[in-house]
Amino acid sequence: MPRGLVPDVTGPDPAPGALSRRRVLTGLALAPVVLVALPGCSAMADDGPDPLVALADAARADAALAAAVVAAEPGLAERVDPLRDARTAHAAALDAEVARQAGDPAPASAPAPAPAGPPVPADAGLPALRSAVEASAAAAAGAALDLPVERAGLVASVSACCATYAAVLG
């Protein structure tokens, strides 16, 4: 049989019968602990920064770097402009999701202007851009594994897009 998608797997109903009763009992035993722990958990969730903020900032930084690369070497525009557009769209979508989660009725008025990128040496531009977008792909990939289901798809798409730009720019 060919290898599966995941190494060690079980289906929707792994333990029917007596085991499910044991699980119910375990659940009851744990219930008071969970109740005590809940306020602490929600406080932690409120305190931590939304992980999508860093991903949106990375998208803005990549877009700024792409713009700087093209400014230094206009001949790269055809290859790099789509990347700048994609990262700008990623930043907008991630900002919108951050605002939605925070309960804002609309995405924060105007997104922060893209930071002015560092001066880019004409010959070092493309490798630097490739490294940046590769790092962005890895950061989004890591986040996509743990985010709630309603956010996992967006962040996975951002990762796949960035990884593909890294592959074609390499």
Partner: protein
């Protein structure tokens, strides 16, 4: 231990259906493509064959009956030449991207999410190559699977 619940099982069945359709699509497209693109199509079909086998194995491991391929599929436009064959490859890859993104959105199991993300990422590159052939910019989808 990965636990694949019913929602994730349904999403995996949809991904398998998309992989069946992609394989059928490449089988049709390869007859019309130019030689250079034919090699690309064969490589891409091989990637889908590997994915299909992996999904079928996983479904079998959890005791689910894997959906079968259909004998044939309706193409959005008739495939009559190299251009329409490449367009069919774009459709097949785009459909598969949607199915794999959906797997990510239907499970919290990390290994399954990683597998779906890998499929999404590798499929985005395949999709981009065919979008270059078709000439539909941007080549790389901005939100693959959306």
């Amino acid at each position: 231990m990965s636990v694949i619940d019913e929602g994730a099982t349904d999403a995996l069945q949809a991904a398998l259906a998309a992989e069946h359709a992609a394989l059928w699509s490449y089988g049709l497209a390869v007859a019309f493509l130019d030689p250079a693109e034919r090699a690309q199509a064969r490589d891409d079909a091989e990637a889908h064959r590997t994915l299909r086998a992996a999904v079928e194995t996983t479904l079998s491991q959890i005791g689910a009956r894997a959906v079968s391929a259909q004998p044939s599929y309706a193409t959005p436009q008739p495939v009559v030449d190299a251009a329409s064959a490449a367009a069919l490859a774009v459709v097949a890859e785009t459909d598969a991207l949607g199915a794999w993104r959906s797997v990510l959105e239907r499970t919290t199991d990390r290994p399954l999410r990683q597998a779906a993300l890998d499929a999404l990422t590798e499929g985005t590159l395949r999709c981009a190559r065919w979008r270059v052939v078709v000439g539909s910019p941007p080549a790389i989808p901005v939100f693959p699977g959306l």
